[in-house]
């Protein structure tokens, strides 16, 4: 250490070792400057001895220096005016720190980024000044690719390095206000929200910004018409905000959700939030379909070929009988323009030339298409947002630290739940500790084989049970179908028993949906999993396979059998209405079985456990199973949209009732979950499941129906034995014939939509974009790894240089002592 260390950057060894972007040069350059300064000014170093202030942790004023790297301007560390010498608080554990630091070393140490991110007001203001500058720069001018360096090693040059200023707080605030004023309103609000300042200070900033805005605006002379436009835009925006705030205050179910969250935590709360989301989807569908289909048809009801059957109570369950020729089903809707005015006989009062005509088949076609399209967009958007929140590119290990800091659920209020939550966290921490300690579990070959065998056995059991039940549903539906076809010829008037027999298939399916998950749970008990999340995934996938296969076989039954046998048979003459009725039945029976499940699974189990078993543990609320049930019900609702336009209303009623029933059951009977539950990951999975198997499957079915299946000849908006799409095209052609101005639509349709080249090109572009994005993600992963390595290396470099600096100082300080031992430790 006593050798004359050469910090000259032009030294070949140093240059070869660095090969770094310009920023690192600055670091070492500044160090070299300071060291050079030190070696020259020997006398001064003693004079600049720092006062050791009383370390006051709350001393915000003392930490006003934030040091930065600036590639172009600064050639050295800009060290702030107030030196903070609170290092003596941290001297104990840090290996870098010694008892007597030289003043220069202290200067450098105090300006290290890790020690100056004290959130003093001045530091915050300068930081946000820099951020707003960056934002302005980004929004005003888009950086071209040329600006980015092509070095293989990622540099931090483009990453918003900040310039320190040593101005007073008022000047900083002034500049921040000026920057805020130049941002757009949205960006400004976002910046203000993000600032970790006091509320009164944020209000001051906002007030100053608005004052300055008003001042600059009034000083400029706007021409009169744009001023008026400006006022109108302002008024509109103000009314929009007040509308939004009104909607926000209407928050549905706020108190019940708060109670559930307070008692059970975020996991169970996510189920109820999911229910709320589904409710909003259905409300939207109901509004769209209602206003475009139901209301016009209700205003101009068609003449019915047969009289309506009397109302018996059974219709609420079966959907037939009194409900069969109503707005509820496809068969009721007319296939001509409303109002229906036959050319010769115009006895109806609405039939005068001045009334508006409404083309029902076109409206039906487009409304259904539009509602599916908008639902698809909303789903994909919410899925991507949720995925973005929960997906982390860099899946490195940090589990223990994350568990300690992020696992406490601040929503939980009730004392017993708090106790459970802390036990839960305790268990998780012990498990994690156990993992790291006993990684070398004695896993003999025999153990592994037995485990594999058990897993294989349980999977075979589950899949076999699923296949068996699906085959049973297939055969039973076939049997019911044949029975109905044959029984048509037996009696003219279908009795109540025959109506009730229509309920057999839904009851069977719901029963299977109820019982089989219990079997899956039993098999899962005998298996042993390495991690609880694996257990959750396996159970989720088994339930999913069951539901998908059940829905698949049902779709086959409806679309192939029922639609295929639509000739001559009175029941299946209007097969769409029949399928709609079937779906209504399925929905209602599913609801009834959910009630039964809540009753038996939760209430009776709790009573049994309390009174008979005398245990203190109540049943837990199985979140995954309940959410899958919700998704299943929503799939049925989407499937039935084409055949039963009022099905969203039924689903809304069902969800409302389900919410209150589940809420009261959970509060009375269940306890907080004892297993860990990763909320955001599971929420993402559920939204993905809602989008992919559920929505995609139902839209594929509906598309298939519209595209391939011939619609029935005597009912509905698409009468005549053609597919709905053909009928729709015919209608459009008729419309175009009537108004020549719409011919461009027909041309566009022919050249764009029907042209296979267009579709191929579109699909190819889509795939290319996906590939590109996946490459970007890969690249980002690599950059993260490289940057982490760079951080570590820079930390080492800094430590090395600081020790060098200190050693130089020590050498100067005690030259007499160091002379004999020149080669001691370096």
């Amino acid at each position: 250490m006593a050798q004359n260390v050469n910090f000259d950057l032009s030294h070949p060894a140093v240059e070869a070792g660095l090969e770094s972007p310009a920023d690192e040069n600055v670091v070492h350059d500044s160090f070299s400057q300071l060291i050079a300064e030190q070696s020259q000014n020997e006398g001064l170093s003693d004079a600049i001895e720092l006062q050791h202030l009383q370390g006051n942790p709350d001393d915000d004023e003392g930490r006003d220096n934030v040091a930065y790297l600036s590639p172009s301007e600064n050639r050295g560390w800009r060290i702030g005016s107030d030196e903070a010498a609170e290092e003596d608080n941290e001297t104990q554990t840090d290996s870098l720190l010694k008892d007597r630091w030289s003043s220069a070393t202290l200067k450098i140490l105090s300006s290290m980024p890790s020690r100056t991110i004290g959130r003093s007001r001045g530091a915050i203001i300068s930081q946000y000044y820099n951020r707003t500058t960056e934002l302005r720069r980004r929004t005003q001018k888009r950086a071209s690719i040329k600006d980015f360096s092509r070095s293989a090693r990622p540099s931090i040059r483009g990453y918003g390095v900040e310039v320190d200023t040593t101005d007073s707080a008022e000047k900083k605030q002034e500049r921040l206000v000026k920057n805020l004023q130049d941002l757009s309103a949205v960006d400004r609000m976002r910046m203000l929200k993000e600032m970790p300042l006091n509320l009164s200070e944020k209000k001051d900033l906002r007030r100053l910004t608005l004052e300055m805005t008003k001042r600059t605006r009034s000083s400029s002379n706007l021409p009169c018409c744009s001023y008026l436009k400006f006022q109108i835009i302002l008024a509109l925006r103000h009314s929009w905000y007040s509308c939004l705030s009104f909607l926000h205050s209407l928050q549905l179910w706020q108190m019940p959700l708060k109670r559930v969250g307070g008692r059970f935590g975020s996991g169970v709360l996510s189920y109820f939030l999911f229910l709320k989301t589904l409710l909003f989807f259905n409300v939207f569908l109901f509004l769209v379909l209602g206003s475009f289909l139901v209301v016009p048809q209700a205003v101009y009801p068609p003449e019915l070929p047969e009289s309506r059957k009397p109302f018996t109570g059974l219709e609420l369950l079966t959907g037939g009988g009194y409900f069969s020729n109503t707005l509820l089903y496809y068969g009721y809707y007319s296939n001509h323009t409303l109002p229906n005015c036959p050319k010769n006989n115009s006895t109806r009062p609405e039939c005068d030339s001045r009334s508006l005509s409404y083309n029902m088949p076109l409206a039906y076609f487009f409304t259904i298409g539009l509602s599916f399209f908008i639902t698809c967009i909303i789903l994909v958007y919410s899925m991507s947002k949720s995925f973005g929140q929960s997906f982390r590119i860099d899946k490195s290990n940090g589990m223990l630290a994350m568990k300690v800091f992020c696992s406490w659920d601040f929503k939980v209020i009730k004392r017993s739940s708090v106790k459970l939550l802390s036990e839960n966290i305790c268990t998780q921490l012990k498990e994690l500790l156990g993992d790291t300690h006993h990684r070398l579990v004695r896993n003999t070959i025999l153990d592994k084989l037995i485990k594999l065998l058990i897993h294989g056995l349980s999977w075979t059991l589950c899949l076999g049970a699923t296949a068996g039940c699906v085959a049973g549903i297939y055969c039973f539906s076939d049997y019911m179908h044949k029975k109905q076809e044959s029984s048509e010829n037996d009696s003219e008037d279908p009795g109540l028993l025959k109506e009730a027999s229509l309920l057999a298939l839904p009851v069977l399916v719901s029963f299977i949906n109820l019982m089989l998950p219990i079997l899956f749970q039993l098999t899962a008990w005998m298996e042993k999993y390495n991690s609880p999340s694996l257990r959750t995934f396996v159970s989720l996938s088994r339930n999913l396979i069951l539901k998908v296969s059940v829905l698949g076989v049902l779709c086959f039954h409806w679309l192939k059998r029922v639609a295929g046998s639509a000739n001559g048979n009175k029941t299946f003459n209007c097969w769409e209405s029949f399928v709609g009725q079937d779906l209504y039945r399925f929905l209602v029976i599913d609801f009834i079985f959910s009630l039964l499940d809540t009753l038996f699974g939760e209430l009776l189990w709790r009573l049994f456990s309390d009174k008979v078993l005398k245990r203190n543990r109540r049943p837990g609320f199985d979140i995954a199973k309940n959410v899958l049930d919700l998704i299943y019900g929503q799939t049925l609702a989407w499937l039935g949209l084409l055949f039963t336009p009022l099905l969203p209303a039924v689903q809304i009623l069902k969800l409302l009732l389900l919410f209150y029933i589940k809420m009261s059951s959970v509060m009375m009977n269940c306890q907080a979950p004892s297993r860990p539950y990763r909320v955001s990951q599971m929420t993402t999975i559920f939204i993905t499941l809602l989008c992919f198997p559920s929505f995609l499957g139902s839209s594929v079915c509906v598309t298939y129906t519209m595209w391939r299946l011939p619609s029935s000849g005597s009912c509905g908006p698409f009468r005549g034995n053609k597919t709905m799409i053909q009928a729709g095209k015919q209608r459009i052609a008729e419309l175009v014939d009537e108004n020549r101005s719409l011919s461009f639509l027909a041309d566009a349709h022919t050249y764009l939509v029907e042209n296979p080249l267009f579709l191929f090109v579109g699909a190819a572009i889509f795939l290319i974009v996906i590939y590109f994005q996946s490459q970007v993600v890969d690249g980002q992963r690599k950059i993260i790894a490289l940057l982490q390595e760079q951080i570590e290396n820079e930390g080492e470099d800094k430590k090395f240089l600081i020790t060098r600096l200190q050693s130089v100082h020590e050498r100067k300080r005690t030259p007499a002592r160091n002379l004999p031992s020149q080669d001691s430790g370096c």
Binding site: P57, E90, G398, M402, S680
Partner: protein
């Protein structure tokens, strides 16, 4: 933004209601001079949202201006706006760091971590386990190898935890 006078009156009303809710005996009869009323910590932690929270003392201290836990109305609003659903992630990270930093030295050192753990697990872990967890946690999250967590280490670790936003949220 409305008229300056109306916002002032609304605030007065809100502050008045808040005061009455928590500490009726402290409500001054005359609010026109907008006096600086501070509610002591002992009263704030009786709120149902905070009563059972193991970090309630630290939360109140962090958001209070004097650092002792006496909150004015503005501090109170600050606290709930940082803990609400729509607060941005950076803001929550900053305040979470302040809450977990028990000795307020802008670092989460080993003692801070031990106190956090004890509050979380309410003494269920043995001291050896506590030490082990603290050591491992610091080892995992510390990037600059100074055996304590600075804000950037903390922020980096939190950014990898997707549950942080939904957990660091108090419903009112």
């Amino acid at each position: 933004m409305g008229n300056k006078q109306t916002t002032f009156t609304e605030e007065q009303l809100e502050a008045h209601n808040w005061q009455e809710g928590l500490a009726p005996h402290l409500v001054p009869l005359d609010y026109t001079n907008n006096p600086d009323i501070k509610v002591p910590m002992a009263l704030i932690v009786t709120m149902p949202e905070l009563k059972e929270n193991p970090f309630r003392d630290r939360i109140v201290e962090t958001f209070s201006e004097d650092g002792q836990g006496n909150m004015s109305f503005n501090d109170f609003v600050d606290m709930f706006s940082a803990l609400c659903e729509t607060a941005p992630r950076e803001l929550k990270t900053i305040y979470a760091f302040k809450i977990y930093d028990f000795n307020r030295d802008n670092f989460i050192c080993k003692e801070d971590l031990q106190k956090t753990l004890n509050k979380l697990t309410k003494g269920e872990l043995t001291p050896e386990e506590v030490t082990l967890v603290c050591d491992k946690a610091i080892e995992e999250a510390d990037l600059d190898a100074d055996s304590k967590l600075s804000f950037s280490d903390f922020e980096n670790m939190i950014s990898k935890a997707p549950d942080f936003l939904s957990n660091f949220h108090v419903r009112i």
